[in-house]
Symmetry: C2
Subunit: 141 residues, 2 copies
DNA sequence: TAAATTCATAGTAAGCTTATATGATATGGG
DNA sequence: CCCATATCATATAAGCTTACTATGAATTTA
């Protein structure tokens, strides 16, 4: 039940792009420096974000990345699903794709469905803008 | 963000012991047959449950297992924590053990804390008794 | 003593995680 | 045209986790 570094770094990456947006391209090198993360690893992660259109890339000198839309248009859930895959805690509750043959007499499936819903309720209701606007010290859980 | 088979099987195991309780020992062989799971794998899993006192074991012929307490005394959370380890989605939110040096200027930590709380709210409020009482077909999410 | 059971430990194939390494490709500025 | 600076594309790899299987010892009842 862990979120991998890939998913966490992807969120930090998006937040960094939002925080440092000046309208110009932001180089991944700068992001890596600010976030203290491996550039090469971030390159792999941002590939996912660009290919799905969340981030716009510009090659060459003075190239870099920018968010395609506003920070409030991206939820944490969108980013995690892209990098982590499905957020379903067990395969048998993610739609009809991985239906379990025991589904009809499985009495535990409702537990996993409830858990899945709780997870989605959190990650689908926090946006990158929410994270940016959240001061470092003044949040209350 | 997946719950492993170990955790899921442990829950099914506990539910099976609750459902088939007659006051006598229940052999793991029977559980494995009913649940269609590997006996040897279940042996490893139930070791965790016996060592922490959730299940009482009796060796020898006519030996087997019984729940130490009533089904309503065991939450899904208790069982999952035992088998899966911490349910924290990231290490830095599980108490003070794995504190992150970036903690004070990390703006994403509140996301993981909120997620952690949502997960706990679900698993700590469903007991084995709830699962047993939940008919196979008549639950509503 | 034999059968049935739990208990203990070791092994293992496959896949995932978390990167690092190498180099190709594209762009702007001098 | 050349060079520095970027992104883009693959390959590699150590270490860990998952999901078991295997072997056999210890215990208890009939």
């Amino acid at each position: 039940m862990k979120i991998s570094t890939k998913g966490r770094y992807a969120v930090r990456l998006m937040v960094d792009l939002a925080q440092n947006n000046t309208g110009e391209n932001i180089s991944l090198k700068d992001v890596a420096k600010r976030q203290n993360l491996s550039l090469k690893y971030l390159e792999q992660i941002i590939t996912l974000l660009t290919k799905s259109g969340y981030v716009i890339s510009t090659r060459g000198s003075n190239g870099g990345y920018r968010l395609a839309q506003k920070p409030e248009d991206y939820t944490v859930g969108m980013i995690l699903r892209l990098t982590e895959g499905s957020l379903a805690p067990v395969a048998c509750v993610e739609g009809d794709v991985n239906e379990c043959p025991r589904k009809d007499d499985c009495c535990t499936i409702f537990v996993w469905k409830k858990l899945y819903k709780a997870i989605c309720d959190v990650v689908d209701n926090i946006t990158i803008a929410d994270i940016v606007n959240m001061g470092a010290d003044n949040y209350i859980i």
